[in-house]
């Protein structure tokens, strides 16, 4: 076991809906609504056979945590995820600008 070399998922391979559900703890209705809210982007397929980008799994796990820890409903999850996404984009922009300042 100690010498077991583990190979991570290929981040660019599509993630089937089923796997997104089992790995995140969200239920299908929640995922459908989060797609409708535009928080999750579908990578391909049609509803029962949707696939997602692996980045969506990070979002989905975060959504499930927010749901469990704060008792959020889907609208609440969508709102929180949207704001967190914006904060991250702003932080990224800040890092970019800071990198251009002389040290």
């Amino acid at each position: 076991m100690a010498d077991d070399l583990l190979i991570p998922d290929d981040n660019e391979s599509p993630l089937p809906l089923e796997e997104l559900l089992s790995a995140s703890g969200l239920v299908q209705e929640e995922v459908i609504e989060l797609v409708q809210f535009g928080v999750f982007q579908v990578a391909g397929g049609s509803e029962p056979t949707w696939t997602f980008h692996s980045r969506t799994l990070t979002l989905a796990r975060r959504a499930a945590r927010l749901r469990d820890d704060f008792g959020l409903n889907v609208s609440g999850m969508a709102l929180a995820l949207t704001y967190l996404d914006r904060i991250e984009a702003l932080e990224q922009r800040l890092r970019e600008l800071e990198s251009q300042l002389p040290r």
């Binding site: 100690a2 190979i7 991570p8 790995a23 703890g25 929180a80």
Partner: protein, 316 residues
């Protein structure tokens, strides 16, 4: 066994009502939730809050916890004789066990935060390992070794901490904040549930030269006033060698020189860019000759850099 004060974790009195406990949890969760808080230690704090709430929000568990009596946090304590018979371990010696693990053992379920307990199949816990890579390792790909302590449910129902170690292949092109997922290598499922996943959080060590933003790299490029005045061809270090780049006459302080494709590589093909940020610097000490030449320049130039600061400011 170490005693944990769940009431202190939630900052409530021991006789707090269920409503007070819920309110305290909400207030603290909002403050320390790892998805929301960025402060140091927030995640550990949240885990403690969450563990406390899981017990104190359930009347049955809260009663069981209260029956343990009052101990100081971290104090060694031994459960009542009744407990010893109900939950005795091999050899009779109490081992290091989490209170949370103990509650699971007492039949209070092993569900995640806020999930109902019961004989339903439960997906194994996700495990997370963090690692710090150098820029070079991130660019080329590497292997990371890890050691984890994982609570594992034994076949006889006991929970034991097991050490898990292994190595994870990190492909080239990872960036700060990226998470790699190894499916099915987390904690084992319970009651026929699937295993959790193992996550590797990537962080990049500060580099003496380059600052990484996504796949782009930034580098401070000190430049002499005459180089920027006259233009110059300069050599810059890149992550895997050097690159020649032209400084155009009249470029400004802080302006960026872009070296396309000289940043961190992408996973499959292509790479980010390297940006050299110009910084005009003076020699730390001027030689006699340099001083003389600057004096000549001062005498000859009609450039007035602060012209716009003179007089009364006008709109626009």
């Amino acid at each position: 066994m170490k005693f944990k004060d769940y009431y202190a974790a939630l900052e409530v009195e021991r006789d707090a009502s269920a409503e007070d406990i819920k309110k305290a949890y909400r207030r603290l969760a909002r403050r320390y939730h790892p998805d929301v808080a960025k402060e140091e230690g927030a995640e550990d704090r949240f885990k403690a809050i969450s563990e406390a709430y899981q017990t104190l929000s359930d009347p049955e568990k809260r009663q069981a916890y209260d029956d343990l009596g009052r101990h100081r946090p971290g104090e060694e304590f031994h459960p009542s004789p009744d407990w010893e018979t109900r939950f005795r371990r091999d050899g009779g010696q109490p081992q290091e066990v989490d209170l949370a693990d103990l509650f699971e053992q007492m039949g209070f379920g092993a569900g995640g935060w806020g999930r109902p307990a019961g004989p339903v199949p439960i997906r194994g816990q996700d495990l997370e390992v963090a690692t710090e890579l150098t820029l070079e390792q991130a660019a080329q790909g590497t292997e990371v070794s890890f050691n984890l302590s994982v609570p594992t449910l034994q076949s006889d129902g006991r929970v034991q901490r097991e050490t898990r170690s292994g190595r994870i292949r990190v492909p080239r092109g990872v960036i700060e904040g990226e998470r790699l997922r190894v499916p099915g290598r987390g904690g084992a499922g319970i009651g026929g549930g699937p295993a959790g996943d193992l996550y590797l959080d990537i962080h990049l060590k500060p580099h003496p030269r380059f600052r990484a933003v996504g796949h782009d790299l930034y580098l401070d490029v000190p430049i002499a006033p005459w180089e920027i005045a006259l233009g110059a061809e300069i050599t810059l270090p890149s992550l895997d060698g050097t690159a020649r780049v032209r400084v155009q006459p009249g470029m400004r302080n802080g302006q960026k020189l872009r070296l396309a494709g000289k940043g961190l590589p992408h996973r499959r093909e292509g790479a980010g860019d390297l940006y050299g940020v110009l910084q005009i610097v003076m020699p730390p000490e001027l030689s006699e000759r340099e001083r003389e030449l600057f004096q000549q320049l001062a005498d000859a130039s009609s450039f007035h850099p602060r012209l716009h600061l003179e007089g009364v400011p006008t709109d626009g």
